[in-house]
């Protein structure tokens, strides 16, 4: 007997796959991002103007990759919002790729994507991830060639449903304005997504009567706030708008054959175009010049291959990464201020002040005579108890005691301040988020 899913169930199935595809791109991009020293001092040896050219490229590469990574997080959240709208519950924790290299889920066999430092090869791999679909390409439910074709298939499913099918969970979605706070969950630009048009700006004296210059006039904003937002899904139209936004940010606005702009305003470039632009510029540098701004990250590091004395660091970083995925997943089960406390406080603290700082610190530790440094492995951490925060704190204590330069007292305090994902409820059934 043939078992056939309803359209609604098929949509839920494919949205969960979309969530995992978007999730799998995040460690790939972040790993390459952290391989870059955006303010490299070693490049000074090449003298002007080469040193400025190299430093400008390094900072641009970092800002560009971070700008894309942030939008991949947006895409994962939008796919989760649509799934919540149709009555599903997004699964995120434990579903990051367990090892690298990895293919993207349901992608046709062939391409394998590495955790690797920045290189011409890695930029070409990024272009494969963001590859624009051909104009006559058919929608593909699996064995897909481009992500655009996969999302086209999801659009065909959305089209078959009614508005009422998308009205099962507004309040559980992550959106721009939540809780009693006035602040939003998603912001397109920050100090890490911007970069100077020319690194020489760092060497110029500040203007006495306008100290934000010369840096401000040199600032390039990779992302624009009109390009996309964390929208609530409650109709077919909003679901289609979200999916179109995801597609266009990646491969470019589909009415423009250059694949450059990601929407009609043409203020922001697509992911594909951003990476292609970096690839073009990357051809200008020698191997030695590349090395002056790169940390010597290994390809596809694994906990199992990590020198024993550093396994605790890898475990802590994996645990923090996994805990953040847990926070995201749990946030989709909460509403109002409980969700706000969990997601806003947890993710902002966790991403910017814990994960970012731990990885930023660990990469200064050489682990082999050839100069290879300690790098994140982005593996799912298997929490053993129903109190993962206590496990996180225990790991933090171990690393702080052995390597205070990697996990200092400030980071330890921030881990302590993270919300507890082990949710407690009042007798009335109201979730209480402690942090």
């Amino acid at each position: 007997m043939e078992f056939k899913l309803s359209v609604l169930d098929e949509l839920k199935f494919h949205l969960q796959i979309a969530i995992q595809v978007e999730l799998s791109t995040i460690p790939i991009y972040l790993y390459t991002y952290y391989s870059i020293n955006r303010r490299p001092e070693k490049c000074d040896q090449y003298g002007p103007p080469n040193d400025y050219m190299i430093a400008t490229f390094a900072n641009k590469a970092g800002g560009t990759i971070m700008s894309v990574a942030i939008e991949e997080m947006l895409h994962m959240s939008l796919a989760s919002n649509i799934l919540r709208a149709v009555g599903g519950t997004p699964k995120i924790y434990g579903l990051s790729p367990q090892s690298f290299p990895t293919n993207l889920l349901e992608h046709r066999p062939g391409p394998l994507f590495d955790l690797a430092k920045l290189s011409v090869y890695q930029l070409n791999q990024f272009l494969l991830i963001e590859k624009p679909e051909a104009k006559d390409a058919p929608p593909e439910s699996d064995n897909w060639d481009t992500l655009g074709q996969f999302y086209d298939y999801i659009l065909t499913l959305v089209e078959k449903l009614q508005d009422s099918d998308f009205q099962h969970g507004d309040s559980y979605q992550l959106s721009d304005k939540k809780g009693s706070g006035t602040t939003g969950y998603y912001v397109s630009s920050n100090v890490d997504t911007i970069y100077p048009d020319n690194a020489v700006a760092f060497t110029k004296p500040i203007e006495k009567n306008n100290p934000i210059q010369p840096l401000e006039s040199s600032a390039h904003y990779s992302n624009q706030d009109d390009s996309g937002n964390l929208m609530v899904i409650n109709s077919k139209a909003s679901a289609k708008a979200a999916i179109t936004m995801i597609k266009d940010q990646g491969e470019g606005y589909n009415h423009d054959d250059t694949h450059k702009p990601d929407d009609p305003s043409k203020k922001e470039d697509s992911h594909w175009y951003k990476f292609n632009s970096l690839l073009t510029q990357s051809q200008n540098f020698t191997a030695d010049e590349w090395n002056c701004f790169l940390f010597q990250f290994p390809n596809n590091p694994k906990r199992a291959n990590t020198p024993a004395e550093y396994v605790c660091v890898v475990d802590l970083v994996n645990a923090v990464y996994s805990y953040l995925l847990k926070i995201t997943e749990v946030s989709y089960t909460l509403t109002g201020n409980a969700q706000y406390a969990m997601f806003y406080i947890g993710m902002h603290k966790g991403m910017i002040f814990i994960l970012d700082k731990l990885i930023g610190n660990m990469r200064y530790t050489a682990i082999s005579p050839d100069g290879t440094v300690l790098a994140p492995t982005f593996e799912n951490f298997p929490f053993q108890t129903d109190d993962p925060k206590q496990e996180l704190l225990a790991l933090c204590d171990t690393v702080s005691a052995r390597y205070p330069g990697i996990c200092d007292a400030n980071i330890a305090q921030r881990i302590y301040d993270l919300p507890d994902v082990n949710i407690k409820y009042t007798p009335e059934g109201v979730a209480i988020v402690n942090f």
């Binding site: 939003g184 100090v191 890490d192 997504t193 911007i194 970069y195 100290p211 910017i352």
Partner: protein
Amino acid sequence: MSTSNIVYKELHVCMGLNACKGHDRLGINNCAGTGTCATAAEHSCHTLNDCRGQGGCGLYGDGDEQNNPGNNLCAWQGSCAVPINAERFSTEGDNRGQSVWLRARKVFEAKMDAAGRQYGPSPMPNGPTTAWLKTNYNSAFVACGASGMSGGGSCI
């Protein structure tokens, strides 16, 4: 400057943002708005402020947050580092591309005007530069982010 024996009468996020005489970091300023530096706990970035009104601004956070430096509603809702170096510009919202410290001063002046209070000029009309903060406040002062575009260095 040694401030270890001073009990702060008010917590504010930077130079020129104190509400009363004697409310700056050294407790010696003559007038509102003329204090030399922050009394709120120094912190390097987004969501690390201890309480209401103690967040800086400019490098992370949404447009509303970045439009209200030193005026956040609650702990952990501040947009960015305290104190606010003069080189810092907002990265999001209506103040994008403009001085964070000048925005903080404008918010401060609006609150003082609403309260019918007088205030004096800031010791530095555009706020304290990173060089001034390193010399007079904390030699290890750093603002956040990896790009260096904060004008206060990089924190990774």
